[in-house]
């Protein structure tokens, strides 16, 4: 490099370094996140294979930040979704989009864990936010003296989601007794609650019918499905409808057998009964 060219390079470098303070900010300093935003959660609540669950991560910070947005990445097979109130592309803090310095708040999101996921897995959590605190630590919200600039930052953390084996029954039948008028023909609702894991393609149909009873299903289908969708979501209760035509029955007490089919880790069939009183 010639002396003249070396001189020109030196001038350019000096211009870059020396004029930065003139502009009021040094690029390096402006990029430093001094908010102290950090996750207090390293491990979420445990889930079981096949479960859909809302999980949360608690955050704190030294300075107030706004415009909070969190996105979560999970391993293949695990689905993450967000509150629909924000459009479904991200989640924010529970209380607002602002994390006030020296306080705590949490972000919540939903994970759907496949039945094949039997070991703990990591989530990569990226939280983006805006700081309005100046380099001098003064923040817009609580006083003057900041440099009146808003800076966007993000923090990435990894949290572990423990996966433990499910315990308890796959589902419980909430409705075990029904009373219907003699000569009636109407739908009745049967409640079912899932255990810890989701039960896909949950269907209910009547088994061998008592003499004179005719059973129908919504949409003239061969089975009844939960009102809120084809799956019975873990730890939730849903209803299935059966149309009971008792016009051919005499008053009395009967046992109505049920055939319940669903898919957890694999397709399964279970039986149930309803005590039917025709009066």
């Amino acid at each position: 490099m010639s002396g003249r060219r070396r001189g020109a390079v030196l001038v350019l470098a000096l211009v870059a370094v020396l004029t930065a303070p003139l502009l009021g900010t040094s690029p390096a300093a402006a990029d430093v996140d001094k908010t102290g935003v950090r996750a207090l959660t390293t491990q979420t609540a445990a889930v079981v294979p096949g479960q859909t669950a809302w999980l949360s991560i608690v955050w704190t910070g030294d300075q107030t930040v706004t415009n909070w947005s969190t996105t979560v990445s999970a391993p293949a097979g695990v689905t993450v979704s967000y509150p629909t109130t924000r459009g479904g592309a991200d989640t924010s803090l529970y209380g607002s989009e602002t994390l006030v310095g020296s306080t705590r708040d949490f972000t919540a999101f939903k994970v759907q864990v496949p039945h094949t996921q039997r070991s703990s897995f990591p989530l990569t959590v990226v939280s983006a936010y805006t700081s309005t605190c100046g380099d001098n630590g003064q923040c817009k919200e609580v006083g003057s003296g900041n440099d009146d600039k808003a800076r966007d930052f993000s923090t990435t953390v990894t949290v572990t989601v423990p996966v433990v084996p499910a315990t308890g029954p796959d589902f419980t039948q909430g409705t075990t007794d029904l009373t219907v008028p003699a000569g009636s023909n109407a739908f009745v609702q049967l409640a079912f609650s899932a255990g810890q894991a989701d039960l896909a393609d949950f269907t209910v149909r009547a088994g061998r019918l008592p003499a004179g009873l005719v059973v129908g299903y919504p949409g003239d289908a061969a089975v009844s499905r939960p009102a809120m969708g084809p799956a019975l979501i873990g730890r939730s209760t849903d209803q299935v409808a059966l149309r009971l035509d008792t016009t051919g029955m005499t008053r009395g007490t009967y046992t109505l057998p049920l055939v319940i089919a669903y898919t957890s880790a694999a397709p399964r069939t279970a039986s149930g009964t309803v005590t039917l009183v025709v009066r």
């Binding site: 004029t19 020296s102 001098n136 003057s144 003296g145």
Partner: protein
């Protein structure tokens, strides 16, 4: 000294002068402005009621990450249950939470309650 070096020297002097001015200006901008205390927003004052709400909130923050829910609404149901037990409504909590952003008193009160630590973690 050849011509280029002289121009370089003149440039360096000029840039150094600019840098001094610039640094001074930047430092000046970073100095906390002396403003009357009255200009500082104080927001909602902290009292016993805000302290009890802060305690409910902090207790929730201690346990929320160890719970999982089938339904998103359960987060609010859980909060409201604890608020009701303490004699508060969700609306009161919301007003308190919104006031945190503009009330250093409330923040200090919340921080003092938080400093006691969650039951499972050491204080500090």
């Amino acid at each position: 000294m050849w011509c280029g070096d002289r121009r370089l020297a003149r440039g360096l002097v000029a840039l150094a002068a600019l840098a001094v001015l610039g640094t001074t200006a930047a430092c000046g901008a970073q100095e906390p402005a002396a403003e009357p205390a009255a200009a500082t927003p104080t927001g909602t004052p902290a009292d016993a009621a805000t302290g009890r709400i802060a305690e409910v909130e902090f207790a929730r923050q201690c346990t929320v990450a160890s719970a999982n829910y089938a339904d998103e609404a359960q987060f609010t149901i859980e909060l409201d249950t604890h608020l009701a037990a303490a004699g508060f409504t969700h609306e009161q909590w919301k007003r308190w939470h919104d006031a945190l952003a503009v009330s250093p008193e409330l923040v200090t009160q919340f921080a003092e309650i938080s400093a006691r630590g969650c039951p499972a973690e050491p204080p500090g």
